[in-house]
């Protein structure tokens, strides 16, 4: 509470040498947040200048989200103050921050599917005329705002009918509907790929040009490097420092976030790949998503699947595994297998990690043991009864082999951080010891230290003679860990890269252009 005692907290901003200090549009001073005895944010002092793009980076649990929520009025600080253009402000509700000119673009898409784009934009602040909603005017304003953002959907279409990327734009349009002085983006590109990211970055540069301060939170350090004028690094709830954006390399940022020297993010590639086909899929068709896809993955191989959102990668595998309607001829170790359900897939020895670990992977309200054994119930517990002793042993084993960090054994899956949830999900799928492991977006929303570990686990799998398929929207990740990458576009395989041709630009080319020619790419 006492402001005087906090003024010397300025030293936290020390490394920001060479940055001119003008009137801050938003200033946080000694901001702290405690929940009971747990301090999640401690003494953060930060100035945001008009017209600057200020990135906030940090590992999961470093306090980024808490910081953003404090700035935008979702929670109140335990200590410290906020001021805007020199005036003290206090927000106890999000709409107060909104009114003061601070907009937050959420990480998750929070829109009502059954309502139109216009209705969503004005939800909760409908314009009225004579006490009735003024649809015509709202539609006009909505259309103008969408056009400004380069979003081509009609203002009258239902949100459920538009693509994920367009929904993200609608969400941004919603945040930008009123004039704002500060716009906060919380991991805006997590669900976007390639061109969609570019469009968003353009929007952000336009905001900057109009003198609006942009706070940008992201795990994608390449974006941070391109965008940020300043980079503030949070670690364990404390501000490590604020640095001029262009002076930091991605490795520098990662090192500051982790607080120790980081080994290479991607493990040294190993020659575990053999020529022995393990899983081969012929003529896979998933109505509406995938047309006639065939591929083979070999023992000891990490095969990547790249493509834009909507290219049909996830649908291909869900169709093949009986999770959605589809047909495919599947051979496992040379023998044909019929897979009509996830159970049959598991019995055949194919494990699948969904990209949606919170919605489809884990029971968030449940403890870790039942989550771990859920898909292996049949073979893990012979007979009728659940064997808790075995379950406890398996959990202890999983916690140590996958380095799952938890506060106590009684925690619920939902209380784990994203990285630890992913490790638990990996342990769950591997519990039935599949010979082919399909991992959809292995590191989405995961901090850098956990990423490196997960890459290590994937490599361990192929070293044990399993075959591994990695579906990812991060091309860098595919190039970093895969032996070979198949690129999909509009439901078909548009090409394949390996060895010398396996570069991000070749993958991007195959993913986006219809008649791509990649040198030596073994296209099918």
């Amino acid at each position: 509470m006492s402001i005087a005692a906090r003024i010397d907290g300025d030293s936290a901003v020390a490394p920001a040498a060479g940055i001119s200090v003008g009137p801050a549009v938003l200033r946080a001073e000694g901001l702290s947040k405690q929940y009971g005895a747990v301090t999640v944010l401690s003494d953060v002092t930060l100035d945001i200048q008009p017209g600057e793009i200020h990135a906030i980076i940090g590992e999961n649990g470093a306090g980024k989200s808490t910081f953003m929520r404090l700035l935008s009025g979702y929670i109140e600080p335990t200590e410290g103050t906020l001021s805007m253009a020199g005036h003290r402000v206090r927000f106890s509700r999000p709409d107060q921050a909104q009114a003061a000119g601070i907009a937050l673009v959420h990480q998750e898409i929070l829109l009502a599917d059954a309502l139109s784009v216009t209705d969503n934009l004005f939800l909760g602040r409908e314009l009225t005329k004579g006490g009735l909603v003024d649809d015509a005017r709202m539609r006009r304003l909505a259309a103008a705002k969408l056009a400004e953002l380069g979003c081509e959907v009609s203002a009258t279409s239902l949100v459920r009918d538009i693509s994920l990327a367009d929904r993200q734009l609608v969400q941004i349009a919603r945040a930008l509907l009123d004039e704002h002085r500060v716009v906060i983006f919380d991991e805006p590109t997590a669900v976007l790929t390639g061109g969609e990211v570019e469009r968003l970055l353009t929007i952000i540069f336009e905001l900057k040009a109009r003198g609006i301060a942009v706070l940008y939170i992201s795990h994608r350090l390449d974006e941070v490097q391109r965008l940020a004028d300043k980079v503030s690094v949070l670690r364990d709830g404390k501000l490590v420092g604020t640095y001029p954006g262009h002076t930091l390399t991605q490795i520098d940022m990662a090192r500051l976030m982790v607080g120790r020297e980081l080994n290479a993010l991607y493990p040294q590639k190993q020659a575990t790949r053999t020529d022995q086909p393990m899983l081969s899929v012929r003529n896979a068709v998933v109505p509406g998503f995938v047309e006639d896809v065939s591929f083979t993955v070999h023992k000891g191989e990490i095969l990547g699947f790249a493509g834009m959102i909507g290219a049909g990668r996830t649908e291909l595998f869900e169709g093949m595994l009986g999770l959605r309607p589809g047909t495919a001829t599947v051979e496992l170790n040379g023998a044909p297998v019929r897979i009509r359900s996830q159970r049959e897939a598991m019995e055949a020895g194919i494990g699948y990690l969904t990209e949606d670990r919170k919605g489809k992977g884990l029971l968030l309200q449940e403890r870790l043991g039942p989550n771990l054994t859920l898909s292996a119930l049949a073979n893990f517990h012979p007979g009728l009864i659940v064997r808790r002793d075995r379950e406890a042993r398996a959990l202890a084993q999983a916690i140590s082999s996958y380095d799952i960090r938890l506060k106590s054994l009684g925690v619920r899956a939902g209380q784990l951080s994203g990285g630890n949830q992913q490790k638990l999900l990996l342990a769950k799928v591997l519990l039935s010891d599949p010979s082919v492991v399909i991992i959809d977006e292995p590191t989405r929303g995961i901090d850098i230290a956990n990423k490196a570990q997960i890459y290590g686990f994937i490599q361990d799998l192929v070293r044990q003679g399993k075959a591994c398929i990695v579906i990812s929207s991060e091309m860098q990740e595919l190039v970093g860990i895969c032996d070979r990458v198949i690129v999909m576009r509009e439901g078909r395989i548009s090409g394949e890269v390996s060895g010398e041709t396996m570069t991000e630009s070749n993958i991007a080319l195959l993913a986006t252009s219809s008649r791509a020619h990649v040198a030596q790419g073994g296209t099918k």
Partner: protein
């Protein structure tokens, strides 16, 4: 890259954590007993308590089944009319068989009751899972069907049980074994079995998983259709057992048998701490819930403060309080 060789932070900690929400129904039960004693010391007499618990037995037995249906993410509104329907079938069958089988008509009738219950439950389950109809609507439909069938079978009147069987069947409701009324014994057995299945078996795990998140269950290779349908079949079996206990009490089936029981059953389940949106089942809480409902009714009859016509209103208040406790005790 080698995996980090850090020691896992696994601590040997008790997995069970005390939760007010879980303890709530039992605390409420104790509080009611204490209140009852203050109002009228006879309330705690063995005779009165054993009467109360005996009367709560049907709702308790049916509610054990409902705990499965609700924790798997379903709902069954048809249980009340299903009791009447099964009671009607059972009595008609027993009466028909009495001349040829004699007293053996009673166990034969009980077997028919169980088979009918299983089939009714299966029908509900299949309509909900294979037919993909909202449980509320599907069982609203079967509720009407069962009620109409019993009305049709009784021709609007009653089907009494044959005189030759009445005396032999009476003890199933009125008898005792080792001093304990038989309905209490039966509901205890049903509860123990239910708790075993829900907490200790793979089926129980799957049931809760399907209720908590259907997608997670599906992606874990669990058949959602099978798991949910089995929950309804368990419900059907429980309704049949309740009907078997109920028939000797009145000695007849009528169109009003079991009317509005579905509300009492759902109330018992919910005040017992089972989440109405699924994923969390509490068998012993359900039993406590059923007893609480009957205790309140009894308390109101024994005391002169509140008219017994208001029993349903008080039960309504209780369910709302129970939901508020669940909401705010996180």
């Amino acid at each position: 890259m080698t995996v980090l060789t850090q020691s896992a932070p696994a601590r040997t900690e008790r997995q069970y954590q005390f939760s007010w929400a879980d303890a709530g129904p039992f605390l409420a039960l104790v509080a009611l007993l204490a209140l009852g004693f203050l109002v009228n010391p006879d309330f705690l007499s063995v005779t009165n308590l054993s009467n109360v618990i005996t009367r709560s037995a049907y709702v308790a037995i049916i509610a054990v089944g409902a705990t499965f249906v609700i924790s798997s993410g379903g709902l069954d509104l048809s249980v009340g009319s299903m009791v009447a329907f099964i009671a009607g079938i059972t009595i008609m069958f027993m009466n028909m068989m009495a001349p040829s089988l004699g007293l053996w008509a009673i166990p034969a009738g009980m077997a028919i009751a169980v088979v009918t219950g299983l089939l009714c439950g299966l029908a509900n389950g299949v309509i909900v899972t294979v037919g993909k109809i909202e449980p509320f609507i599907a069982t609203l439909g079967t509720m009407g069907i069962f009620r109409a069938l019993i009305t049709y079978m009784t021709n609007g009147g009653t089907i009494p049980i044959d005189k030759s069987l009445r005396e032999a069947y009476r003890p199933v409701y009125f008898g005792t074994l080792g001093g304990i009324p038989i309905p209490i014994l039966i509901s205890a057995i049903v509860a123990v079995l239910g708790a075993f299945v829900l907490y200790k078996t793979k089926y129980g795990r799957r049931c809760a998983a399907v209720g908590a998140n259907e997608d997670v269950a599906r992606y874990s290779g669990i058949s959602v259709i099978k798991t949910r349908t089995i929950a309804y079949v368990i419900q059907g079996a429980c309704v049949a057992i309740a009907a078997i206990c109920y028939v000797p009490r009145l000695g007849a089936a009528t169109p009003t048998t079991g009317q509005l029981w579905e509300l009492q059953v759902i109330t018992a389940v919910v005040i017992g701490g089972t989440a109405l949106r699924g994923g969390k089942g509490r068998i012993w809480g359900t039993i406590a819930g059923a007893v609480i409902l009957e205790l309140i009714a009894n308390l109101m009859v024994l005391s002169d403060f509140v008219s017994e016509y208001l029993v349903a209103a008080v039960q309504g208040v209780i369910i709302i309080i129970a939901m508020l406790v669940q909401r705010f005790s996180k």
